[in-house]
């Protein structure tokens, strides 16, 4: 049997509909291209927090990465501000969906760091829901230390890697 078919079958058998729901395959860190029809442009601009263009327009919404301390998952105050800003958008636009990608620096074992990345993603999720986003809008995926943005072994590099990326899968 074709390998691809076998994998798909196994996945479907084992996990039913969950597999379909979870299947948001992405190849790059950039958020996917906006697929909303151009009709959206007729809505008024200005301070509209429910329009997808807000994501490109409002400064705090353009910030899509929050950073963490070493071996910690508590949300720092500057991260809290960014997350509150996104929570405001998410509460105004219920169709929007976000994947929170948790990352760790290289120190410590890889599988432990997978857990640490998830803790950070969960902390960001909790901060978003407390600030008004709905948990149904949010998915957490941990990449641990597997997707570094920087590969030198020093603190400035480690700091860039200890992060959660806010990725809009539906704007």
């Amino acid at each position: 049997m074709n390998v691809a078919i076998r994998i798909s079958l196994a996945a479907l058998l084992a996990f039913g509909l969950v597999a379909c729901k979870k299947k948001t395959v992405r190849d790059e860190v950039e958020p996917p291209v906006d697929t909303t029809p151009p009709v959206a442009q007729t809505t008024p601009a200005g301070d509209d927090w429910s329009d997808p263009s807000a994501l490109d327009r409002i400064p705090c919404l353009r910030q899509r990465v929050v950073y963490f301390d070493f071996d910690q998952a508590n949300v720092r105050s500057e991260a809290q501000e960014i997350l509150s800003c996104h929570a405001r958008y998410l509460s105004n636009r219920s169709m929007a969906r976000v994947t929170l990608e948790g990352h760790a620096d290289e120190r410590g074992s890889r599988e432990y760091n997978l857990g640490l990345g998830e803790r950070r993603g969960n902390a960001a999720r909790d901060a978003l829901t407390v600030a008004g986003a709905s948990s149904g809008q949010l998915t957490v995926v941990s990449y641990g230390e597997e997707r570094p943005t920087c590969t030198m072994s020093d603190e400035s590099c480690w700091q860039q890697n200890r992060r959660v990326e806010i990725v809009y899968t539906v704007r």
Partner: protein, 437 residues
Amino acid sequence: MTLRLLLPLIALLALAGAARADEPLRLTISGANEGAVPVAVVPFAHEGAGLPPSVDLAQVIAADFNRSGQIRSLPRGDVVEFPVRESDVRFATWRLLRQDYLVIGRVADAPGGGFRIEYEAFDVARQERILAGALNGREAELRGVAHQIADLVYEKIFGVRGAFFTRIAYVTARGVAPSIEYALMVADSDGHGPQLVVRSREPLMSPAWSPDGRRLAYVSFERGNSAIYIQELATGSREVVSASPGINGAPAFSPDGSRLALSLSRTGNPEIHVLDLASRQTTQLTRHWAIDTEPQWLPDGRSIVFTSDRAGKPQIYQVPATGGEPTRLTGQGDYNARVSVAYDGQRFAMVQGAGNVYRIAVLDRTRGGGGRYDLVSPGRMDESPSFAPNASMLIYAAREGGRGVLYSVSADGRVRQRLVLADGDVREPAWSPYRQR
């Protein structure tokens, strides 16, 4: 420059690129071991009618011996006599050269094609033959034949099966985010013959061998989240065995191959589970808010050791494979994680962290009180130790100049060799079980 001049240049550049990609893991000795047993391996004579093999069997055997740290092979330039069979051996010569053992051999044609390799080993002091036999192999199998001969000699000397005729699995990464290409590879234990198992643009992690050495379990993100696959090496066919919401990580086959220990976070945070591969039923072993991950089985299959930060920092704990209250195994060090268990169930290799320095430590539980820890690696960012099936050596990953490299090290830490790919980042080595002879 004319096209006529350019074309060969382009061809040459393409060739150079290809050669680099195919280059095996390179070995560098970074220590000496005066306590090692001296053994002379004489170049094997070619007695066949056709072309001699391209593989220098004696050289492969000698390199195996040196890598173990337990045997020191006589440098080729110091081999002054070339006995081919027992009647040629003059023990006085090898005694003068202070060699404890002597290995000789010859290559003949095998009926039906390929080669027939006859080998003999001698105890120099006792002036007697301790080993004699023959193995057949085609050209591509000759390195394997040499590793098997090295294993047999090792076993005669130390009374423990050799582990040279084994393989390593490892993960490579090339490029920088967001376009990193990951590959899961398998090579011989000396780094030769690397073969691609699977390639992905999403992370690949945590390869784990089945006890029969025929399958690998690993973590792949190709579905957009971590999932655990089991892949048959001979056919390449594979299946997803775990894709729950959250983390699906750290697979480890039980010693009988029927179950897979893994770390799942579907309950909200990573917990150790056991998946029965026949029924696909999972049993949750741990229940704690901590990160519980990196399970490994003890050889009797009745207990599992794993990493948990339930006491604040990661430490190693032990829990019955049927569930129960975990007990802490590691009593020394701020940070202990990613344990590898030796076949005897008494030695545990792990990553030990202190400040920003992470090294490989081996805990020997047979030695005094809570056991004794020996650091066997000198790096700053060492990780992912994996015992050879006879626990004579370990393989682990280190970082040098911003990229990952692999080292093999003797269990006492005295002899290390670097195995490095020409480019890219190599990590997460896993030493295979013994191969069927």
